[in-house]
């Protein structure tokens, strides 16, 4: 039960040059169960990229925390790094460089 509702405050940042790929820097309260795919969905939602047309089609993003690629859930990251969800996590996103078939794994 607690697992399902547990959330953490994150701040999404990006170094993408393309201005249209930047989301507001205000904090977001998200489930700690999110992985790359869930976070990617959130970023696309914030960018208004949840359509079918070329310019609104979702993009695949990768996520980095402390310059390291996130390959697990946010919760796993917190636990492995001795952190709790009381902290504000700065999460960087970049356009995915990996092939889609590989991305599905995490």
């Amino acid at each position: 039960m607690t697992e399902d509702i547990s959330q953490v405050k994150i701040k999404l940042v990006s170094k993408e040059e393309d201005e249209t790929l930047r989301v507001p820097e205000a904090p977001l309260f998200v489930p700690v169960s999110l992985k790359r795919y869930g976070l990617s969905e959130v970023v696309n939602h914030l960018l208004g990229r949840d359509g079918q047309a070329e310019e609104t089609r979702p993009i695949s993003f990768d996520f980095l925390i402390g310059e390291k690629l996130l390959r697990t859930t946010l919760d796993d990251y917190l636990v492995k790094n001795g952190l709790s969800n009381e902290t504000l996590l700065e999460v960087e996103y970049t356009r995915s460089a990996l092939p889609p078939s590989f991305l599905a794994a995490f």
Binding site: K9, P24, A26, P27, L28, V30, L34, E86, T87
Partner: protein, 300 residues
């Protein structure tokens, strides 16, 4: 009932000298504000002047006309024929101050404001001189750090309360706080006319708004007022006002989860809350929200 732990079995995380110095600083910072808040609270909590005339007395302000005929018929023996203005009864109340001791308070730089708010509210209520005060801390656990049964005095009680806060708890269990508080209030309810008020001081970041909403409603049914003071960060980029929340809703048609992003405060479970960035704003904000609360209570 084990979540509310016994103070005697644990030692506080902060030593007395350090806590005393912290109290001294907060005490000084809130000196004038406390008297101001005290006056405002006096006006709000003061019993309304009774204007009703009630009988039956042997002397009084005005004759009770209904008693005249029986008076004469009884050969002037039934002489309780006067009405009097009834005295307004003193409004009794209990205030529980609940302080968020979780680590997010420390990380968002809310500690100083939280300490000042505790000093401010404790002193203002103490100056009012009628009503009991209790202080609890919450985070992973809920702990009574000053109980209703004890008198409050600044020199000793203040530092002793501060000793229990180090803002290192790794959870913010507001649900447990609400459940425990309802029980504590229940235990201390001496009569049904008692007003029970809880002032929660926190950065406002908590999970499970749906469940909390139910608890807030339950408290209201039991005439327990819950007022939430959100301490907002000074860093405007991280303000709770701009914060959003990611939610997933089940779409009954496609049976899939739909992503929704809403402003965090839109689903904030407490009806009566204020967002404070500066201790100087607190007296005004607190009086405002309490007045609003009482006027709503009076109209329902």
């Amino acid at each position: 009932y084990d979540v509310v732990q016994d103070l005697d079995t644990q030692s506080p995380p902060r030593d007395f000298e350090e806590a005393r110095e912290l109290w001294r600083v907060s005490d000084q910072a809130t000196q004038e504000l406390a008297s101001g808040l005290c006056e405002q609270l006096r006006l709000i909590l003061e019993p309304t002047k009774s204007t009703k005339l009630k009988g039956d007395y042997k002397t009084g302000k005005r004759l009770n006309m209904k008693r005249i005929i029986p008076y004469i018929a009884s050969d002037f023996r039934k002489d309780k024929i006067w009405l009097r203005r009834t005295k307004p009864s003193k409004r009794e109340y209990q205030v529980m101050l609940a302080i968020d001791d979780s680590k997010s308070m420390y990380e968002s730089g809310s500690v100083e404001l939280a300490f000042n708010a505790v000093a401010l509210v404790c002193k203002a209520l103490n100056q009012l001189e009628s009503g009991d005060l209790s202080v609890v801390r919450f985070g992973e656990d809920v702990k009574v750090v000053h109980s209703f049964d004890k008198p409050f005095n600044g020199h000793d009680s203040g530092p002793k309360i501060f000793q229990w806060f180090d803002f290192q708890q790794t959870r913010t269990d507001v649900r447990q706080l609400c459940e425990s508080s309802l029980n504590i209030f229940e235990e201390h309810k001496v009569n049904t006319d008692l007003w029970q008020l809880q002032i929660i001081i926190s950065d406002g970041v908590c999970e499970d708004h749906e469940t909390l909403k139910k608890l807030v409603r339950k408290a209201r049914e039991e005439r327990i007022m819950l007022v939430f003071v959100i301490i907002d960060t000074l860093n405007s980029e991280e303000s709770i006002i701009d914060m959003s929340q990611v939610k997933y809703n089940l779409d009954p048609e496609t049976n899939s989860m739909n992503l929704e992003v809403k402003k965090y405060l839109e689903t904030f479970p407490f009806d009566f809350y204020v967002v404070v960035r500066n201790i100087n704003e607190l007296p005004e904000m607190l009086s405002l929200i309490l007045r609003q609360y009482f006027s709503e209570v009076a109209s329902t």
